[in-house]
């Protein structure tokens, strides 16, 4: 790890100011992704701006929205009675991320800002048609994810919360874990709610999380596993690595989507 300065601002305005004043400064959330990267010396920030003092570790439900503060750890989401009631599939997804340590440190904001192509949360946010709220704007999920490790966030912009529209009628997430990292080799989030029927796929796409629109159309017509059993995702847009060829991932998308539909129905 290279040396860096550490700041823990007490307000969003201070955090934004610190980031704005130094293009080499980086926000720090749970550190589950950032710290390993620093340890490997793959990144050399001048300052780390710890977001844990901003009051962003919170969950609330209003009539038609569940909002989760950016600094809410996965374990808190998994165990939240509000989340379990409003969108049980989301609680379950959070409870299936990493291990206990990761779940108690890693945050939803960090996961989304990082947009790892194999991460779980992006599938939920895209699949539920959520809105990512930052210090300066509201970004629809469809616009937020822009490719592997790439998002709509501008330099110095901080995610403050994520708003999920309610009521969610049906939803489920099915993850086929990459056997070593246990991130998603293929993860499929299927939902029926205010944003319509959506199928979001993580782990598989060359550009990160994506919507499987053919499946969405078929499920809109009929929400049942066999409605999508014969829908194949073209392998030429999918990843291939030592853990799975594009053909295998394509196959797994259909299997995981069917299982998610079955679990949601």
């Amino acid at each position: 790890m290279y040396d860096f300065a550490y700041h823990k601002p007490a307000s969003i305005a201070d955090a934004v100011a610190l980031l704005a004043g130094d293009p080499e400064a980086r926000p720090l959330a749970g550190g589950q992704t950032l710290i390993p990267v620093l340890k490997q010396r793959l990144n050399k920030p001048s300052k780390l701006i710890d977001l844990s003092g901003l009051g962003l570790n919170r969950i609330s439900v209003s009539g038609n929205a569940l909002s989760i503060g950016a600094m809410t750890p996965h374990a808190t989401v998994a165990n939240s009675a509000d989340v379990q009631r409003a969108i049980p599939a989301l609680a379950k997804l959070a409870g299936g991320i990493g291990d206990n340590q990761v779940r108690n440190r890693g945050t939803i904001g960090g996961s989304l800002a990082n947009n790892d192509p194999a991460a779980c949360y992006p599938a939920a946010v895209l699949g539920l048609g959520a809105t990512v709220v930052t210090n300066k704007r509201r970004i629809a999920a469809d616009d937020f994810f822009q490719g592997m490790f790439t998002t709509a966030l501008e330099p110095g912009e901080i995610i403050t919360e994520v708003v999920f529209p309610l009521p969610v009628e049906k939803a489920a997430y099915m993850k086929f874990a990459q056997p070593a990292s246990r991130f998603a080799l293929v993860g499929v989030f299927v939902a029926k709610g205010p944003a319509g029927v959506r199928v979001a796929v993580t782990g598989a796409g060359q550009n990160g999380v994506f919507r499987q629109r053919e499946m969405e159309a078929a499920l809109t017509a009929r929400f049942a596993p066999d409605a999508i059993a014969n829908i194949k995702t073209p392998p030429d847009q999918l990843n291939s690595d030592i853990h799975g060829s594009a053909e295998y991932r394509s196959h797994l998308i259909t299997v995981m989507a069917k299982r998610a539909v079955a679990a949601a129905a």
């Binding site: 070593a180 990292s181 853990h243 299997v255």
Partner: protein
Amino acid sequence: MGFEGIGAAVKRKEDARFLAGRGNYVDDINRPGQVYAYIKRSDRPHARLKGIDTRKAAAAPGVLAVYTGADLAADGVGGLPCGWQIHNKDGSPMAEPPHPVLAVGKVRHVGDPVAVVIAETKQQAKDAAELLEIDYEDLPGVAASTDAIKPGAPLVHDDVPGNICYDWHIGDKAAVDAAFARAKHVVKLELTNNRLVPNAMEPRAAIGECDVTGNYTLYTTSQNPHVIRLLMGAFVLHIPEHQLRVIAPDVGGGFGSKIYHYAEEAIVTWAAGKLRRPVKWTAERSESFISDAQGRDHVTTAEMALDEQGNFLALRVSTLANMGAYLSTFATSIPTYLYATLLAGVYKTPAIYAEVKAVFTNTVPVDAYRGAGRPEAAYLLERLVDVIAHDLGFDRIELRRKNFIPPDAFPYQTPVALQYDSGNYQVTLEKALQAADFAGFEERRRQARARGKLRGIGVSTYLEACGIAPSAVAGALGARAGLYEVANVRVNPTGDVTVFTGAHSHGQGHETTFAQVVAERLGISIAQVDVVHGDTGRIPFGMGTYGSRSLAVGGSAIVKALDKIIAKGKRIAAHLLEASVDDIEFKDGKFTVAGTDKSKTFAEIALTAYVPHNYPIEELEPGLEETAFYDPKNFTFPGGCHVCEVEIDIETGTPKVVNFVAVDDIGRVINPMIVEGQVHGGVAQGIGQALLEHAVYDSQGQLLSGSYMDYVMPRADNLPSIHVGTESTLCTHNPLGVKGVGEVGAIGSPPAVINAIVDALRDYGVRHIDMPATAEKIWSIIQAHQPRMAAE
């Protein structure tokens, strides 16, 4: 005190400190004035090293020195030696290219050490290493043994033609050819044994130190400190052994990877001498992936000749063994004398011929890893037997029974050099089949199918050889070391005992098992026995721990020393009790005059030995301390039967081990709880090899699975509850009758798992699947046969 002797499942003495986090590992040790070494390693598989500009790094803050291969060469530092010379078919010696401590002229694998930076802090050393300017000229690399032997392949060592280290053979080729010529059936199988990364929980570490008088101390994560002292002192650094102390304190797992003499040990010791400051190096986990010797990596063709009834007539085996870029300490012996000599297995195959080509590639060196050669042999045989049954329509259990060496045939001479002293393969097979409810399996298969799962059961009846020996025979075969073990038993004046053993414990529980052996013999409690290991400054000598030898060889040395203690104790007792030595009996901690109630306790005799007031001082020296060297007459031969049951998710191909039974004949059991733990660990690694683990290189030699994000370690949820059973036919040639248990789990299990997978897929036209049997591989097989099944 309850029963604590041989056979008692007492809790491990060492766990008191380990569970409390009070272990003392190399990285826990900090010496006054200590500085830190950072080793700059090659990030390319194969390149000419045209120059290293160290000036900027040397001028960086906190840096004491930067050294390269040239500095070591200028100081006369030797290369890392190989401990076993193999001869080619034509009798000529193997190719043994230099293995410099720091690369000279070329780098040959990712991770090859290129330079070392020594600084006041670890951070400074690492910062400075980034300032090294290394001028590489990339060369084409080669990673697979099958590619390395192709004409025109890049040469790893410019003067080793065809990348062939040796082309060796064993057995009677003419007899085998003749048997094949008259055989009714020939069954052939090509298979690979996947390369593994050892992944000990504790990464390697070393601290070198040199005092004002030129006495050196090396603290290192080693399974055999005396061997390191010998190799490093005599061959690399030329430090006289009396001026070099090697300490291997608590060591967190080895699995073979901590047997070898590594460059880092020589670097920190040499640098400590130059700088007169203690120098510490601790591997980072990603460094372990590219610098710890790896395991397995065989590509093999095997053929069995059979008669009409399924009797094995002859076995012919041809293996390519990947050595990696350099010869690690015992690398050359693994695919030869610890592999091909095991090819009879538990079968009475009358003729066997094996040829092994060892090949250099641009990969991390390969050496012994839990099982070391025997897992490769067991996997080959136990897969081949199942394939024979499949191809020729024999029952796989009957085929085994028919070809087993019968219980009355021991001692049994195999056609590949070994002579088995004892065993009973029928009994372990029957016990395991019983425990696994083999008979009821078809019903479980049917039920699984109804749940959308393919269920399969696999059996392996393996054999292995532990406690490599005797020294003279190994020497004749090319070993450059002795294979005995040493024990010093020191009875202290008040009757408690300190045992100094040359065996090293890094997870095996010697502090408990050895104490139980002593407690049983002397009639004292295990709390009165302290077992000291891992320090050349305290222990007379030793060859260390590998090949499941500690109890069979090290334990036998302890027994020999105890015999001497008891013999001397009898003479002291005879004097005190005014009886003839021949009339003194020693039992339950008491020396008694036979047929009388006159006796002395062990503690009384000990005290008398140290306070010799009433003592036969003319005939007997005071004190009660004895040393023994034990050179075994033969290997020991554990064997047994593993039964594995798997279920495969048809849609995704995902395999899951749902039941596992291991019944192992390991000779006499000293501590059943420790035995169970050893088998559990070994089976976990075996299931890991069969289903999950794989060191994957690209064609040039970049390691693609170089972290836990990509290298699949087995975890608790990959493993079933494991049923462990034992059966004891005693070893006939060591005093304890023990055989060894450290590796049986990793040896017997991989073929059982793969046999189960192939059985689960029996309707899909598959006769073999290479390890690791990943979900995708299985899915592809299911996929490929879907059309055929649909058409039927």
